[in-house]
């Protein structure tokens, strides 16, 4: 155990901090629209090798050797400064690493640079109405017309839960291309432009009132024969790599800490039996227990990061499998307290402001929204029961479910 960073790492951190002194922008640049300011600053950060660090320069990345700890330092320092670093958008965060691992040279050159510059925005098309936890049963089809080089995929069917589809140019996702193959082997990973007559995007309103998701309908939609990532029928394996990135996003420990601190503040300012709720012994017991979960999540993530930096992930496979369940359970426990503390204002619906983005709850209706939304992660990205199966089967070697078909 050595929680001190070594000299090289501290040196690196100092450099990053010096660079971040340039954010927010000053002078003329400060009068640009905020989106342009972010693009400008991020391109400088890429240039310095801080952002998209692992992606080579010829594809628009930082061109650095992989280094988990430096990644961590950059994330921490950019977070502290509120500066635009590596984007959490699905293009840069999920598709770009996938193309770097599985894409052809032509695909990388064509798509990765504009994706990192956010000139092409992406959404993810995995789930279908009939295929949720059993994703491999998906039916949205793509048939190749013409040959492998100049032909086109013709796409029919429907995707659902596509975040940001209304703001995206392209969709990456899974399509059934081999109708005779066993279900996992008939799937290919395709890139599909959304701005075409055969594609319709419909927003899907959540019960909170928010509009984070969409349905996407394909009716003889088309994409180039060269827009397949990996081989035909290999889409399942390709997508597993992408999902890994998504799971890591969900388990972000800093977000949980921010929420925890905010609930403690709520308990300070809310009365219970005539005293601040933070003085109520029952609330104190529960908040203490939840902070133990929060702190466990933080330290376990740090442990996994450290293991990854040394190539020793095998030493912490069990806690890695548990990250998502652990963090979603903890968030739900936390939000139960927030919803209780809000009291009678639980009668109020979330406001427009509460629904914008991933804002933390501010005011009672924000907490109501957060409490409702805390159900979402337990459903998304692999439902709780699927997570429990994975932990039981891969973690503890228990047998797989009996199923009528396999």
């Amino acid at each position: 155990m050595d929680l001190q960073y070594n000299q090289e790492e501290e040196q690196f951190r100092a450099e990053v901090r010096a660079f971040l002194a340039g954010w927010p922008l000053r002078g003329e640049e400060a009068s640009l629209p905020i989106a342009e300011q972010e693009t400008l600053f991020r391109s400088q950060a890429i240039e310095r090798g801080y952002v998209y660090r692992d992606i080579p320069r010829e594809y628009g990345g930082g061109g650095q050797e992989p280094d988990v700890l430096k990644d961590h330092i950059v994330r921490a320092e950019f977070g502290r400064a509120g500066a635009p670093g590596s984007s959490f958008l699905q293009g840069p965060a999920m598709l770009a690493p996938t193309l770097m691992e599985f894409g052809s040279e032509a695909q990388r050159r064509r798509f990765v640079p504009p994706t990192l510059r956010e000139e092409i925005r992406w959404c993810q098309g995995y789930s279908e109405p009939g295929s949720g936890s059993d994703l491999a049963s998906l039916q949205c089809s793509a048939a190749l017309e013409g040959d492998d080089e100049s032909g086109e995929w013709v796409i029919n069917g429907q995707k659902i839960w596509t975040s940001n589809a209304q703001n995206s140019h392209w969709l990456f996702g899974l399509f059934r291309t081999e109708t005779d193959a066993p279900k996992h082997k008939g799937i290919s990973y395709l890139l599909v432009p959304l701005d075409q007559p055969g594609v319709e995007v419909r927003p899907l309103k959540q019960m909170t009132g928010g509009l984070d998701f969409n349905e996407v309908f394909f009716d003889d939609a088309r994409t180039g024969a060269d827009c397949i990532v990996g081989e035909r029928g290999q889409g399942w394996q390709v997508s597993r790599a992408t999902l890994k990135h998504e799971r890591n996003l969900i388990a972000n420990p800093n977000l949980m800490r921010d929420h925890f601190d905010a609930v403690v503040d709520l308990a300070r300012t809310t009365l219970r039996n005539g005293r601040p709720a933070i003085l109520d012994p029952g609330i104190r017991q529960r908040l203490s227990e939840i902070e133990c979960y929060v702190r466990t999540n933080e330290t376990s993530n740090l442990r996994q990061l450290s293991a990854a930096a040394r190539g020793e992930e095998l030493k912490c496979m069990l806690p890695m499998m548990m990250n998502k369940l652990y963090s979603t359970d903890t968030m739900q426990r936390l939000m139960e307290i927030a919803y209780e503390l809000v009291g009678a204002d639980g009668l109020l619906a979330p406001s427009e402001a509460d629904l914008a983005g991933y804002a933390k709850g501010e005011g009672p209706t924000g907490w109501v929204e957060q409490w409702m939304f805390s159900l979402g992660p337990a459903i998304a990205g692999g439902a709780t029961n699927i997570q429990l199966n994975i932990i039981g089967e891969r973690g503890y070697g228990l047998p797989r479910d009996q199923r009528p078909t396999r």
Partner: protein
């Protein structure tokens, strides 16, 4: 000894359920929900024709002369079918006038309430009460006062105010007064809509500044407490109905939805979750019946039982509602899915007239703990 419903009571539920299902299918419910009006004239007329608007009004004043148990049974059906409308609030207003009004007041208001021509509601909770109670429905925190036939005060979470012709207002000493809003007194009776969670039961703030009002002379802190207790049991019954519906929706979905080549209900995790939802809710039917009966007979422990029933059934119903969303997967999280209609109904029932936490503390206090 008979711990159970009479044939008449069972028939009342069946009749109401049959009406609500036939006249108000989920599609109509959805329309009212999306509009956010919370009132459907045709539905209200139907309730009136069945005698439900006058359910707890004495027969002498044109009502059915029934009791809180029958009211709770109807609330259960309303919760299960999800119908909008002021049935509970209206009935509580009737109970208040009947219990606390003088003969002329009863004669003046009860017949119109009984026929449903006038819709009644209650304005009780106050914002920013000076006393340090966390429960805005606790009469000890109310500041609203009457003076020379007028009332002044600031209320919030007032349900169905847009359509109510009669409002029972809670006063600083735990008394009650009646306000009949009309267009002519827009200055003294100001309504500010609040964006409520359950769009079938819209809520408003109500600012009274010298509004014409008639105090109910027999209203005391104790009689007001009894009206509130009847409300607690009604909300619990509504939540019970909502929860049974959510369990049924979940069981139906689990039998229908296929993943990995079989209905998801076949997976033990899903089957057991539904069984646990049912086990939290079904046995509480008896708790509900007892609580309503205890109020009707004025049993010694009636108030504590009302608090127990409200705290327990509404809290468990919200837990069941969350489970129902999770069982429906992503679909359950959408506006389109019917689960949200009952989810939010359960949320309203949980928070209105005091949260489970407030009532659990009351349960402890009333036990002398």
């Amino acid at each position: 000894m008979h711990f159970g419903l009479s044939e008449e009571q069972e028939l009342l539920q069946e009749t109401f359920r049959g009406f609500a299902q036939a006249e108000f299918p989920p599609q109509r419910l959805r329309e009212v929900f999306d509009a956010g009006e919370g009132h459907d004239p045709g539905l209200w007329k139907g309730l009136a024709e069945m005698g439900l608007t006058g359910l707890v009004v004495p027969e002498a004043h044109g009502g059915a002369g029934l009791e809180i148990l029958e009211l709770a049974l109807c609330c259960e059906v309303a919760g299960a079918t999800g119908i909008p409308g002021a049935l509970l609030e209206h009935s509580l207003a009737c109970l208040a006038i009947d219990a606390c009004g003088d003969p002329s007041q009863r004669e003046r208001w009860l017949p119109g309430l009984a026929t449903g021509d006038v819709i009644g509601t209650l304005a009780l909770a106050e914002p920013d009460a000076e006393c340090e109670t966390a429960d805005p429905w606790d009469p000890d925190g109310w500041q609203t006062r009457t003076s020379n036939g007028t009332v002044s005060g600031f209320k919030q979470y007032v349900p169905h105010l847009d359509h109510a012709g009669l409002v029972v207002v809670g006063l600083a000493d735990g008394g009650l007064a009646v306000v009949e809003p009309s267009e002519s007194d827009a200055a003294s009776v100001r309504v500010e809509p609040q964006d409520g969670i359950d769009r079938t039961r819209p809520i408003s703030k109500l600012r009274l500044q010298g509004a014409a009002a008639q105090p109910l002379p027999n209203a005391t802190a104790e009689s007001t407490r009894r009206i509130l207790d009847a409300g607690l049991v009604g909300l619990a019954a509504d939540a019970f109905g909502a929860a049974t519906r959510l369990i049924q929706l979940s069981a139906d979905y689990a039998k229908d939805r296929k993943q990995f080549g079989q209905p998801i209900a076949q997976f033990q995790a899903v089957k057991h979750q539904i069984a646990r939802m049912g086990t939290e809710i079904e046995p509480t039917r008896a708790l509900l019946w007892y609580a309503a009966h205890a109020l009707d007979r004025g049993l010694e422990d009636a108030g504590r039982h009302a608090a127990m029933t409200k705290a327990h059934v509404t809290a468990k119903s919200v837990e069941v509602a969350r489970d129902a969303v999770e069982l429906h997967g992503g679909l359950g999280f959408t506006w389109e899915c019917d689960v949200q209609l009952w989810f939010k109904r359960a949320m309203f029932d949980r928070s209105f007239l005091g949260t489970p936490e407030v009532h659990r503390e009351r349960i402890a206090t009333l036990a002398g703990w």
